[in-house]
């Protein structure tokens, strides 16, 4: 399947002030076309103000096989969570 276009991951920023969020992927022959396709496929209903496309091959992902080694040790370290002090009254967002 060497004729198939490479895969790109698409990130869209919904509004100014928010960060880009992964919305999906698509096939395109190069970055410029990938941007066009992302615009057509993922922003038809005013979903965004900015688009990033990243070659899927450029993303290094953690392996599901290493899930335990990566994430389990964090589970029993309660002192890493901010639960040991009282929240001052009137602070709505902390």
């Amino acid at each position: 399947m060497s004729n198939e276009w490479p895969l790109w991951e698409v990130f869209i920023r919904a509004r100014r002030g928010l960060s880009h969020t992964h919305v999906g992927s698509l096939h395109a022959p190069d970055a410029t076309v990938a941007l066009h396709h992302a615009r057509d496929v993922y922003t038809r209903r005013q979903e965004g103000v900015s688009i990033w496309v990243v070659p899927a091959a450029a993303i290094t992902a953690s392996s599901p096989d290493e899930k335990d080694a990566f994430f389990d040790p964090a589970a029993d370290k309660v002192y890493r969570h901010p639960t040991f002090y009282a929240v001052p009254e009137g602070v709505a967002h902390l």
Partner: protein
Amino acid sequence: MTAVDELLAIGDDALVAAQRLGEWCSRGPEMEEDVALANVALDQLGVARLVLSYAGEADGRTEDDLAYLREDFEFRNCLLVELPNGDFATTIGKLLLLSGYQKPLYESLVDGPDERLGAIADKARKESAYHLEHSALWTVRLGDGTDESHRRMQAAVDELWPYTHELYAGNGAWLSTVESVLAEATLERPDGGWQPGGGRRGVHTEHLGYLLAEMQVLHRAHPGARW
């Protein structure tokens, strides 16, 4: 041309282009490009609806009356838009030549004497700018791509070029836009040749009749049918 004829020319260009592009739906070379072409078709259809609604007000006809109940000789679209889609290169070539014409046309209408048409054009010019960018991008990729894609893109431009005479007729902005894209795509601009015309007077190619038959059959069989 009367004012209504001028509106029909703009609306019919968009309507027929939309119908042709719609034929690509589910047949695009890739799913993403399929969606892209459908988006362009919907943009064109949106302009067609606004302009035809406006054009029909003069004598009490609706947009549907104009789209579905006119014969081919009553359409004022240019011949370019009614030509068959051909292969992907031909479709892209058609879109390049059309959007290279529509964009400056809409821009000129924005500040024109007709405020309502200006408002429609203000919306349409942004869509048109994208159509031009997208078709130029593909023209360059195909023209400056493989031997086969270059051959097909050049063949498309050669085949379509005669029909552009009707569009630009001495419009320097159109020519410089298209020429720069062709140059970047390493394509040769055809020179001279025959100059078919007549679309603006209702003299069309045989292709329009078949296109209208498909577009109008449902409305004519079931007048006023709705989703």
